[in-house]
C-alpha cells in the first residue's frame, strides 16, 4: 500500500495522454495542506478525455489503461498500489473551478496537482456531511486559508449563507 505510487501512476497517465487535467481532492488532497487526514480511498478529479469520433467524454480509457497494467476494479473504484481510487468528473461549477486552479506540489520529485486549501474548504462546506464540517474546522483552525480568496470563492458560488450558518454553529463562542 503506497499512495506515492498512486500519484506516480496518475502522473504517468497524464503523460501518456489518458487524462488531461486532474487534481487530487478529498482527504488526501487535504493532507497536502493539513496534518494527515485518515481516509480509506483516493479521490481524483479529472477532465475526461473525449473519445475519438464522439462528442461525449468517457472514463473508459482510464479503466482500460489501468486494468491493462494489472489494477483491479471493485465497484466504482480502481485499485492502485493497494488504494481504492475513484475518478470523478467535476460535475459542479465549484469543483470545475477547483480543478482548473489546482496547485502543483512536489512529492519526492513527482508533481502532484492538488485542490487548493480554499477550494477544498469550500467543497467541504458545500458537501456538508459531518466529516466535511470537521475538515472545514481543521482548515479554519490551521490558519492555512487565505481569507480573501476563500471569501471570494464563497461569494461566487453562493455559499455565503452556508458559511454564516457554519460560523454560527461552530465558530461562535455563544450558542
Amino acid at each position: 500500500m503506497n499512495i506515492q505510487e498512486v500519484i506516480q501512476t496518475i502522473t504517468q497517465m497524464q503523460a501518456d495522454g489518458i487524462i488531461d487535467t486532474y487534481a487530487i481532492g478529498g482527504a488526501v488532497g487535504a493532507t497536502f495542506h493539513l496534518e494527515p487526514v485518515s481516509t480509506l480511498d483516493v479521490d481524483i478529479f479529472v477532465s475526461f478525455r473525449s473519445e475519438p469520433d464522439s462528442l461525449l467524454v468517457s472514463p473508459r480509457s482510464i479503466y482500460d489503461y489501468l486494468t491493462a497494467r494489472g489494477c483491479a476494479a471493485d465497484g466504482e473504484y480502481l485499485i492502485i498500489a493497494g488504494w481504492p481510487v475513484q475518478f470523478l468528473p467535476p460535475t459542479g461549477p465549484l469543483a470545475e473551478e477547483a480543478l482548473a486552479k489546482a496547485v502543483v506540489h512536489d512529492v519526492a520529485g513527482v508533481p502532484a496537482r492538488v485542490f487548493s486549501a480554499e477550494h477544498l474548504a469550500a467543497i467541504a462546506l458545500q458537501t456538508g456531511r459531518a466529516k466535511d464540517k470537521a475538515r472545514l474546522l481543521q482548515f479554519v483552525e490551521s490558519g492555512t486559508l487565505d481569507a480573501a480568496t476563500f471569501q471570494d470563492i464563497l461569494t461566487r458560488h453562493a455559499l455565503t449563507g452556508q458559511w454564516a450558518q457554519f460560523q454560527r454553529q461552530f465558530l461562535s463562542d455563544t450558542p
Binding site: M1, N2, I3, Q4, I7, V28, T31, F32, H33, L34, E35, P36, V37, S38, T39, L40, D41, D43, S58, P59, R60, I62, Y63, A73, D74, G75, E76, Y77, I79, W83, P84, Q86, F87, L88, P89, P90, T91, G92, L94, A95, A98, H105, D106, V107, A108, A112, I123, Q126, T127, G128, R129, D132, Q138, E141, S142, T144
Partner: protein, 72 residues
C-alpha cells in the same frame, strides 16, 4: 474552560501544526499507515473498505460499472 484544558488544547493544536509542517512524502506515508490501521480495525465482508458516498454536487457521477462497460 479551565486553564489546564486551555493548555491541553493549545498543546494539541501545536502538535497538529507540527504534523502539518512535515514533508509531503512523510505525510503521505502516514496516510498509508493510517489506512492500514483502519483496515485492521474495520473488518468487512468485502475485500474493499470504502467510504460513504458523498452527496454533494461536486462529487456526484463518479465512474460506474455501466460507464466502464465492466461486466456486472
Amino acid at each position: 474552560m479551565t486553564d489546564d484544558l486551555q493548555a491541553i488544547l493549545e498543546s494539541k493544536r501545536r502538535y497538529r501544526q507540527r504534523l502539518a509542517a512535515r514533508p509531503l512524502a512523510e505525510k503521505l506515508r502516514m496516510l498509508d499507515a493510517l489506512r492500514e490501521r483502519a483496515l485492521l480495525v474495520r473488518p468487512t465482508s468485502s475485500s474493499l473498505v470504502r467510504e460513504e458516498p458523498p452527496t454533494c454536487r461536486g462529487k456526484a457521477g463518479g465512474m460506474n460499472r455501466a460507464e466502464r462497460s465492466e461486466p456486472a
